[in-house]
């Protein structure tokens, strides 16, 4: 049974779990508003990196036809950039 899990897929899962635990409280710990904003951006970037790993490794898009992989990676990049831009625009100056 344990042998089934002894491979790259499990390593990716472990990486995703660790990234989730590390980024979980970071946006809520910082006292200052600017530190919280930076932490929030970090949390969002980590979330979209996780999405990318789920796509490339679990959905097997790493070896999928190039247009499909580009569409997925484009979505990750554009949606992440749009969220961060809107978020920064809303911060008090």
């Amino acid at each position: 049974m344990a042998l089934i899990f002894r491979n790259r897929i499990t390593l990716i899962w472990l990486l995703l779990v660790c990234a989730t635990l590390v980024s979980f409280d970071s946006a809520h710990i910082g006292r200052g508003a600017s530190l919280q904003s930076i932490a929030t951006c970090a949390v969002m970037i980590v979330a979209f990196l996780k999405v990318r790993f789920i796509g490339l490794e679990f959905m097997e898009l790493r070896h999928a036809p190039v247009p499909l992989r580009f569409a997925f990676e484009g979505w990750v990049l554009l949606v992440c950039a749009a969220i961060l831009t809107l978020y920064w625009m809303g911060l008090p100056r």
């Binding site: 969002m44 999928a64 979505w75 809303g90």
Partner: protein, 191 residues
């Protein structure tokens, strides 16, 4: 020649139609995510206060359940491809984790509603209940697909199209996982 062999090596997991649906769904959720951040900008204090009423630990637990469920599904596809017999057991593990997600979500919603927090409470909770509700519908569809795949994987007779269907169903389940990863960050963690 090398380019030709590289093209041959590339593989589309599942049917084309599944990917049209997955990419379409990703577009719809992208609109949801951007709408949330756009409206949040106009009333950050309200969103921050409302967010404090969410149970982040339950959100974290649900993230872990879906990530682990995805692990089981990815392993099930790998095992099925190599002719192993553990596919039904791995799909069973994925279904248990998915059901765990549903139970946690019901507990979370029940807690909110018992404290008088509903869809009508404020703008944040309109988004919260709408997005998590639509996502939960995806989870339930995904669980039905996984259950059907589990039944098919137990058949003794060789099932020629099974691997392709398993790949497609698996890809849909990973979509459910990745959409939750973004929802968790936006609704529970963004400050």
């Amino acid at each position: 020649m090398e380019a030709v062999s590289q093209r041959k090596a590339r593989h589309l997991p599942g049917e084309e139609g599944v990917w049209v649906f997955i990419l379409g769904d990703m577009m719809v959720f992208a609109l949801f995510f951007l709408t949330f951040v756009y409206y949040r900008v106009d009333n950050i204090p309200l969103y921050s206060e409302a967010q404090e009423l969410l149970n982040r630990k339950l959100g974290l637990l649900n993230t872990m359940l879906l990530l682990t469920s995805s692990l089981f599904v990815a392993q099930a596809v790998r095992v099925a491809r190599t002719g192993g017999r553990q596919t039904p057991m791995l799909l069973g593990g994925a279904i248990v984790c998915g059901l765990g997600f549903v139970v946690v979500k019901i507990v979370e919603w029940g807690d909110k509603i018992s404290h008088g927090i509903t869809l009508n409470t404020n703008e944040f909770f309109i988004f919260y209940f709408m997005f998590t509700g639509i996502h939960l519908a995806h989870v339930l569809i995904g669980l039905s697909v996984l259950t059907w795949l589990l039944v098919r994987s137990r058949r003794q007779q060789p099932d020629p199209g099974f691997l392709n269907t398993l790949e497609g169903g698996g890809a849909f389940w990973h979509l459910v996982d990745l959409l939750w990863v973004v929802l968790f960050a936006l609704l529970y963690l963004m400050k």
